[in-house]
């Protein structure tokens, strides 16, 4: 069954909220596993994993440094260098936070890699979202593929003139150095022309607009969305209650 974009958005959003509210390591790890499995099944894992790594590695490392080394409540000291103490509690806390964050990021990435952007834009426009905003959103989601294909075109032009790009990440990274400046310049130039075309096609019209693309929204999915949102709200409420009860 094809998911309505708002359903997948609700699913990703509520998963993120519930995982954060639950703050449970097993749940976070389960969500992460499920997200990776889902993306592998839909064939987006090749793109999703590098993106997730780019977001999560720096964040995870900073969590580790923050809590692993400087965790005031830490009692079980594993190692110590002056001010910095590695404590078991700190490491556990860092791991828990990192897993939570990982679950949220992966859930949202699975959504953004799997959603049909035209469907999403059509749905948002038909729900009264301003066309310009919907366009910006769509452009953001299509930006990475657009940049990738632009870099590829520039690289092909350069290869046609004798730039040898061998297989492997290092070679590609070295070659990208030559493509970065042309890429930025061409994107800027492109934006200029494209603006004129979009304006002339009434893109900035303040009035109402319609959508050519019809996105079916079956009743079952509407119910599912409501249930997901209710579950997210319940999770937040439960968390607040527990916190209050605990304090």
């Amino acid at each position: 069954m094809r998911l309505h974009p708002l359903t997948s958005l609700a699913a990703a959003g509520s998963t993120a909220v519930i995982t954060t509210a639950a703050a449970s390591l097993p749940l976070s790890l389960a969500v992460m596993g499920a997200a990776v499995a889902l993306s592998a099944r839909s064939g987006t894992a090749r793109r999703l994993l590098p993106a997730a790594a780019a977001v999560l590695l720096p964040l995870g490392l900073s969590l580790l440094v923050m809590h692993g080394l400087f965790f005031p409540e830490g009692r079980t000291v594993l190692a110590q260098w002056g001010m910095a103490r590695v404590t078991a509690e700190g490491l556990a806390f860092a791991l828990e936070r990192a897993a939570q964050l990982g679950a949220v990021v992966l859930a949202l990435l699975v959504f953004s890699f799997s959603v049909s952007v035209p469907d999403l834009v059509a749905v948002l426009s038909s729900r009264g979202l301003h066309g310009r905003f919907a366009f910006v959103l769509a452009s953001t989601l299509t930006l990475l593929p657009a940049i990738t294909s632009r870099v590829e075109r520039i690289r092909q032009a350069q290869e046609s003139r004798g730039l040898v790009v061998r297989r492997g990440l290092l070679h590609r990274a070295a070659a990208f150095r030559l493509q970065a400046v042309p890429l930025v310049l061409s994107l800027i130039e492109d934006a200029g022309t494209r603006t004129a075309a979009l304006e002339a096609r009434g893109f900035s019209n303040p009035g109402p607009r319609t959508s050519y693309r019809a996105v079916p929204d079956p009743r079952g999915q509407r119910v599912l969305r409501a249930a997901l949102l209710a579950a997210a709200a319940a999770a937040v409420a439960a968390r607040l209650l527990l916190t209050q009860a605990g304090s």
Binding site: P118, L185, T193, A200, F203
Partner: protein
């Protein structure tokens, strides 16, 4: 010109009196002394060489270059009875959307029209209607009608990004006419269209004119359909130097500047027509040796994974939303072709036949799913495209895809340093620039060159390396007369020095004039 006197039955829908138009930051005006009245139901051709100001005029008239933000206009624009005076202080502002409802514009680069966020040709066509809140049923009908007019019906569900050059142009025209503008301005619309496409567009224009649209075609080529225009306006260096009926302007020869060329006509070449037609005699002897380029049973289809250079291009294309049927289509089916040193072979065929795809196999940007590509007898299968490029120079269909540097000289020098001593590289770069007549523009930004200049610069980047095989994709498109003469001389001189030349073109007349041999690619097979 001030064509027809204002009569009640044909009041112009769009008039312009441009005393001068200057881009911000430029000292000199790009347009001066232009008076234009466009009456309903007329076809006007604005003829001028590359760089004459045609595109600026087109964008100014169509609201793509609003005076004020884009540059300084002195004069007036009058649309549907409302006159806007500029240059007297407190200039009015043009609302591009409002203007665009009356005036449709198709720019020279058709891909610039695309919204980039629409998944199918049908949705792209409907984009303007969506913004005007047209009902879905009406939009669907309009998209289907427009697609039928332009022969795009079978592509309605295709990803716009997957269209060929000619199909993309038809889509851009569709986007401009779908809302029924009263004025339609097109910049080089016949460029890159095959014979059937040109005839189809000519019929479409006639239909629009009959329905009362004022159609303006900006062109540097006197394409056959323009002979039926009511008025020709000749633009030279930003000013109108002549106007009148086609018959009048053609009869008084000398009124058309040399930069404007007749459709398909090659420029007066060094070799006369008869000589070119029987050029086999001029081919160097000893053709029995290893051919400079040989394709043996080359097959290719977008969608069979792993055949593009490093296996990525194809994958992306499938993901790009093309239909499964398209994805599995075999574009090339067992292509075999031998090109000897010094031989010029032209590959013609309809739009979307796979001509550009074929050419990209020659230097390894695409890899065949079956068959082999040999350059000087060497199979290039295992070589990175960059290495194969030492012996093969490829001119891309869109020069903008080929140019990425900041100045023309840097552009030509890119990659030369890897092959030659720096002094020799510099010498070759300058030599190539002067071979294409751009010696004076070595510091110019490639994007600022006129279309013809961009293609010539791209050609210079190829020529500078003196490759054994020259592969040229639609080299005549957007070339004015002067540019075509330079191209022609460069191609003949390269072949004379022993390069094998494969050129892909939809322009059969040009192909016959320049090539020793013309082959046709259709339905994935090569005939001829």
């Amino acid at each position: 010109m001030s064509a027809a006197p204002h009569s009640t039955e044909s009041l112009p829908v769009l008039s312009a009196g441009i005393r001068s138009f200057t881009y911000h930051g430029d000292g000199l005006p790009v347009l001066e002394g232009i008076d234009l009245d466009l009456a309903p139901g007329t076809l006007t051709a604005v003829l001028g060489a590359s760089g004459s100001g045609k595109s600026t005029l087109g964008r100014l008239l169509s609201g793509w270059l609003p005076p004020g933000t884009g540059g300084t206009l002195r004069g007036f624009l009058e649309l549907a009875g409302t006159r806007l005076e500029f240059g007297a202080g407190g200039d009015p502002r043009i609302n591009p959307a409002e203007w665009g409802r009356h005036v449709g514009f198709v720019p020279q680069d058709p891909a610039a029209v695309l919204s980039t966020v629409r998944a199918t040709v049908a949705e792209e066509l409907a984009f303007g209607l969506e913004n005007a809140a047209v009902e879905p049923q009406a939009m669907k009908a309009a998209a289907e009608h427009t697609a039928a007019l332009l022969g795009l019906t079978e592509f309605l569900e295709r990803d716009p990004g997957s269209l060929s050059g000619g199909q993309m142009r038809r889509l851009a025209i569709g986007c401009a006419i779908i809302a029924g503008p009263r004025v339609l301005i097109m910049d080089e619309p016949f460029a890159s269209l095959d014979t059937a496409g040109t005839a189809g567009l000519a019929r479409l224009l006639q239909g629009l004119v009959r329905l009362g649209t004022a159609v303006v075609v900006l062109s540097q080529v006197v394409d056959a359909p323009l002979l039926a225009a009511g008025t020709w306006v000749v633009l030279e260096n930003g000013s109108v130097t002549g106007s009148g009926t086609p018959a009048g302007l053609q009869a008084g020869s000398g009124l058309l500047p040399p930069g404007i060329r007749a459709s398909g006509g090659a420029p007066a070449p060094a070799v006369d027509h008869a000589g070119a037609a029987h050029a086999d005699r001029l081919l160097p002897r000893g053709g029995a040796g290893v051919p400079a380029l040989e394709l043996r049973g080359v097959c290719f289809g977008y969608g069979t994974r792993g055949n593009a250079a490093n296996g990525r291009t194809t994958w992306r294309r499938i993901r790009g939303g093309s239909t499964a049927a398209h994805a599995s289509a075999q574009v090339l089916q067992g292509i075999s072709l031998r090109v000897r040193r010094g031989e010029i072979v032209a590959v013609t065929g309809p739009n979307g036949a796979g001509k550009s795809t074929l050419l990209r196999h020659v230097n390894g940007l695409l890899r065949p799913t079956a068959g082999r590509v040999l350059v000087n007898g060497r199979d290039i299968a295992g070589e990175p495209a960059g290495e194969a490029a030492r012996s093969v120079g490829l001119l891309f269909q869109q020069p903008r895809d080929q140019l990425f540097e900041r100045t023309a000289l840097r552009e030509v020098r890119f990659g030369l340093d890897r092959l030659f001593h720096p002094d020799e590289a510099a010498g070759r770069a300058l030599e190539a620039l002067s071979a294409v007549g751009l010696a004076g523009a070595s510091d110019a930004h490639p994007a600022e060159l006129p279309a013809s200049g961009q293609r010539l610069l791209a050609l210079a980047t190829v020529l500078a390396r003196k490759p054994a095989v020259l592969a040229l994709d639609e080299p005549t498109v957007a070339m004015d007369g002067g540019g075509l003469a330079l191209l022609d001389a460069a191609v003949r001189s390269a072949a004379g020095e022993g390069a094998a030349v494969v050129l892909v073109t939809h322009d059969l007349d040009y192909a016959r004039a320049v090539a020793h041999r013309v082959v046709t690619l259709d339905g994935g097979r090569l005939d001829g």
